[in-house]
Structure formats: C-alpha cells, structure tokens
C-alpha cells in the first residue's frame, strides 16, 4: 500500500493554502465548502500548482521539497487525476482516451490493458464512441479508467459525486471499492458531500479557507468535531447557542433558550457560553416516551413542522413544544424504513437525543 504525505503552503493571489496530512493506503477525503481550497490542494499534489513551501512524498519518492528546490514535473509523478468534469479528450474515442497514457507500451500489452479497463469499468461496446456520445456516468468511468491505466499508486478525484445522480453514486462507491481492492491504489478525494466521503474514506481532512481545521480517522472526526465549523461541514444542522449551567458526574447541563439539554461531552466549565451541536441523524423520533430512553438521553416534546422526503431518507423539521413556534427548530433525518405514515406536520412526537450526541464548543464572550 502506498504511503503518501503532503505538507504544503501555497499562495494563489490573495488565497493562502496550508494543507498537511499523511495517509497509508486506502482513501482520504478532503471535505470543505466551495472555495475552501480543495481543488487547489489536489492540483498541488499533482504538480499542476507550485507550492511556495513544503514537501510531498509518495512511498519512497520525494515529489516536492522546497528546501532543496525539488519539484518533480507532473508527468513524472505517476499520480492519476480525475477532474471534476472529467476533461475527456473530446477528439479521441473511449478506447483512445483509456490508452492515452500507455504510449510507451508494446502494442499488444496496450490493447490488453485497454480491454482490461473496458471490462473493469463496464464500458464494453463503447470503445469506438466519442466522449460526447456517451452518458455522464460512462464519461466518469472513462475518466477513471484513463487515470488508472498506467497503474498509479495514488489517484486524485475531484468531486467525483457532483455530477452523478443518487443511484449512480451508490454504484460508483461500490465500483471504486472494487477497483481499489483489485488494483491497489490509494485515493485522495475531494468533496463537499459528507455521506459520500464517509462511504469511501477512512480518513477525513476538514478544510476551511485554505487551512486544515481537523483531520483523522472518520469516526474520530465525526464523533468529536473539533469546532462548530467542522460540525457544520459534517452536516450538523442543529447548532444552538447556549450557556453551561451545571456540571455533575460527567454530564454537562446546557441552557438553550430555557430548554435544558444534557451532554456527556463534558469539560466545559459552568457559566461558559457554548455552541451546542447535534447531527440530524442523532435525533430519534418516538411516539411515546419510553422510560428506558430517559436515562442516557434528552427527551424533548416536539411537534412535526415539516417533512421533506429525499428518497431513502426524510428530513423532518421539529418545533419544540411550549415555545409557540418561536423556539429553536430541530432538524432530524429519518430513514425511510423508520418512517411512519403518522409522521406528518402537526403530529406530536418525542425527540430523543443521546447525551453522547450532544457536542459543545466554547464561544468567545463577545459573540
């Protein structure tokens, strides 16, 4: 498995990029909002952008080192790059696109490799088509195959899910897993879609305004977002300002507009202003209060305000009872299998939030 490490700084106009992470094989996802510098990071790794400082290594090769003024040109880095809109050569057929990197190969080997890629990427029958004559999903597979053709140790994917629909996403995730298992390349992918990153990557690098704000194994990042900013990127739609009013036995009590919420993520002193975050997937909805839940969970009486079905899951907006609709609104994501026909606007429910799922971040006093 490829070992990869990057620690670079780059200045692009007024934008400063400072990205450092290491990976051993498998997949790392760089997550950030648009404009966070995700694509710039990939370009720097590929050698299409020159960092001002830093070092990039892939296995035992040094690709970039500012201290010895070393920068291996892009064509010698042997890093596959799948562009966001694929950038397939419009004048070349699918087969020619796939074999573009195999120019130095023996004719038979090249044909064999192209056939292998056609089979692996399910492109059979499309070999002599032009990119403009195939679907978006097929184009993406051609771009992936083209990048994989020369057998790179590392493949960079820029927003691989942005242009494909939901069923194609699931398929692509499976295909990437299968290809990776078979060909043994490492991946760095860039995305703003947390669920896709989660499905593919074992490591997350959270990027904001050019800086890494958190990195680590995906579970660590997801279960302990270091800041509200990370939480926002991870899809924590429930973020409420509050004040810590008590600390007792490892449980922190927070007051949010008069609502008491208990968090098992302690360590914030009483009196501190905090931002309290809960991921929509951590909010369960039950019809009747179950005594067994109450121990480790917050149970809040809510009224369903809105329900938006999104295929496999539904987003449910909840109004806290006793606030005349002026209190904080909660967002919950409910999976289709858990959805009941009664979960409609106006229905009364109990929102169950495990204490472990309530995250607290200190807020500076002036805010």
């Amino acid at each position: 498995m490829a070992r990869f490490s990057t620690s670079i700084q780059a200045q692009i106009g007024k934008f400063h990029l400072n990205v450092a992470f290491e990976m051993k094989g498998e997949t790392t996802a760089i997550i950030g909002a648009s404009g966070a510098g995700k694509t710039l990071a990939l370009r720097a790794i590929a050698g299409l952008l020159h960092p001002t400082d830093g070092r990039i290594t892939l296995s035992d090769r040094v690709l970039f080192d500012s201290t010895i003024r070393l920068s291996i040109p892009t064509r010698e880095r042997k890093i596959g790059y799948v562009f966001q809109d694929y950038a397939l050569f419009p004048h070349l057929t699918v087969a020619k696109n796939l074999s573009y990197a195999l120019h130095g190969w023996d004719k038979n080997q090249r044909a064999a490799r192209t056939r292998e890629l056609v089979d692996l990427l399910d492109l059979s029958g499309l070999e002599s088509r032009l990119p403009s004559e195939i679907s978006g999903g097929q184009q993406q597979r051609v771009a992936l195959g083209r990048a994989l053709a020369p057998g790179p140790e590392l493949v960079l994917l820029d927003e691989p899910f942005s242009a494909v629909d939901a069923p194609a996403r699931a398929l692509l995730t499976e295909q990437l897993h299968a290809l990776q298992a078979r060909l043994g390349f490492a991946m760095v992918l860039v995305t703003h879609d947390v669920s896709e990153a989660y499905a593919l990557a074992s490591q997350l690098v959270m990027l904001s305004k050019g800086f890494v704000i958190q990195k680590g194994p995906r579970e660590d990042v997801f279960h302990a977002p270091a800041s509200a900013e990370v939480a926002r990127l991870l899809g924590f739609r429930n973020l409420f300002p509050g004040r810590v009013v008590g600390n007792d036995g490892g449980i922190t009590t927070v007051d949010i507009q008069g609502v008491r919420v208990y968090s098992a993520n302690s360590g914030v002193p009483t009196g501190t202003l905090v931002l309290c975050g809960v991921h929509p997937q951590s909010i369960g909805l039950v019809r009747y209060e179950d005594a067994a839940l109450q121990d480790q969970s917050n149970v809040l009486s809510v009224t369903v305000a809105q329900r938006t079905d999104r295929g496999v899951q539904a987003d449910v907006t909840l109004a806290l009872d006793g606030h005349d609709g002026k209190g904080p609104l909660l967002h919950s994501t409910v999976h289709q299998v858990d959805l009941s026909a009664e979960l409609l606007p106006g229905a009364l429910y109990k929102a169950v939030i495990p204490q472990q799922a309530v995250h607290l971040w200190r807020v500076r006093e002036e805010l």
Binding site: L48, F89, Y100, P150
Partner: protein, 223 residues
C-alpha cells in the same frame, strides 16, 4: 497582353502567396502558441505589435519595409554585400510584403484557436505522463487545427491580394514581380479593360477556389 504574361502573373501570385503563407505558418504558429499559453512580461506589447500590419496603410507599410531592406539600409546593403542579392525589385520582396501583411491574421486566428482549447486537457495529459511535445501534437493541435486552418486561409487570401506594399518593395516588373493584383492595376492604368476583367475574374476565382479547398479540407473532405 499576351497569355504568357497572364499566366506568369498568376504563377507569381501563387508562388509568392504560397511561400509567404508557409513562412507565416512557421513564424506565426509558435507566436500564437506563445501568446495563448505563456504569461510573460511584454506579452501585451507583443500582442499589440503583431496587429500593427493590419492597421497600417499598405503604402506606409511598404515604405517602411523599403526603409528596412532597401539598398541603402543596413539590412539591404549587408544582403547585397554578402550575397549580392536584393529583395527590392525581386519576387522575394513581394514575399516579404505579403508575409508581413498576412501573418497577423494567422496569428490572431490561431491564438484564438489555441486559447479555445481548455487548459485542463493539457493538464490531464501531463498527469498521464505525456511530454509537452506529445501533448501539443496529440491534444492541442487536434483541438485547435480548424482555427489554425482558418488562419492559414485568411493569410493565404491576404497574401494573394496584397498590392500596396508589394508594389512599393518589389515594383511592377512584368514576368518578374508583377503579381495578379498589380497586373490588374497595370491593365486599368493602360486602359486595357478587357484584360483587367479577365485578370480580376481569374484572381477572384482562384482565391475563392483556394479558400473553398481549405474549407473542404477542414471538414475532412466533405462538402
């Protein structure tokens, strides 16, 4: 007017325009590529200078070319001393005039063509391990060649029709430097209107034929 002379003028026009266009390709394409792809100091100035021959009146251009290569000039006298050769009153002088007048058209069109090729194609080709030369021939050229060909067609048409500067530099020597354009002028001056008609129609048809030929070639042989 004899038929021989007529043919000579046509042959001269074609000869001068072809040589001038080949030179325009050799000099113009690299300049177009440079202007389209490389951000360097003085790029704006070079971009502007390239356009000068388009805006300059042909007589003014001819005059300055004469200043540049005339027998009294540094270049002209050196050429004469070393090679016993002069561009003035020689068909090569007409080539020079046509080249200077037509190359800007090729550069502008080719530059636009190169600029229309998305940089990402070249970037992705680099990530696939190909050399810059290979990328130029396998990616940039195939995607820009129609614009390039349009530029060549424009340059060729301009060279075929070049008159003012050619007259100033190469003069009007029947059989030696008298191109079709100049022969038409000559015929009108001498009140040989029938000759002028024949010459004008011939030049128009030949030029049109060349352009149609280029267009057909660009479509891959289809009309």
């Amino acid at each position: 007017m004899s038929l021989i002379m007529d043919m000579t003028a046509l042959r001269l026009s074609l000869q001068i325009a072809s040589v001038s266009t080949i030179l325009a390709i050799i000099v113009g394409v690299p300049i177009a590529l440079l202007l389209a792809r490389v951000r360097f100091r003085g790029r704006g100035i070079i971009s502007a200078l390239v356009l000068v021959p388009i805006f300059l009146p042909p007589s003014v251009m001819g005059f300055y070319l004469l200043q540049l290569v005339g027998r009294q000039s540094i270049v002209g006298s050196a050429l004469e001393r070393v090679f016993d050769f002069s561009l003035v009153f020689h068909w090569s002088g007409a080539v020079l005039a046509a080249f200077v007048a037509s190359t800007p058209f090729l550069i502008r069109t080719a530059q636009a063509g190169f600029e229309s090729v998305d940089l990402r194609y070249e970037e992705v080709a680099r990530t696939l391990g190909r050399s810059e030369v290979a990328i130029f021939w396998t990616v940039t050229m195939p995607l820009a060649w129609k614009a390039l060909l349009a530029g060549v067609a424009l340059a060729l048409a301009r060279a075929m029709g070049e008159f003012g500067a050619t007259l100033m530099v190469a003069g009007n020597i029947p059989g030696k430097t008298q191109t079709m354009s100049i022969a038409i002028y000559d015929a009108v001056q001498a009140n040989r209107l029938n000759d002028a008609h024949v010459l004008a129609l011939t030049l128009a048809l030949v030029t049109l034929g060349l352009l149609v030929g280029v267009g057909v070639f660009a479509r891959g042989g289809k009309w």
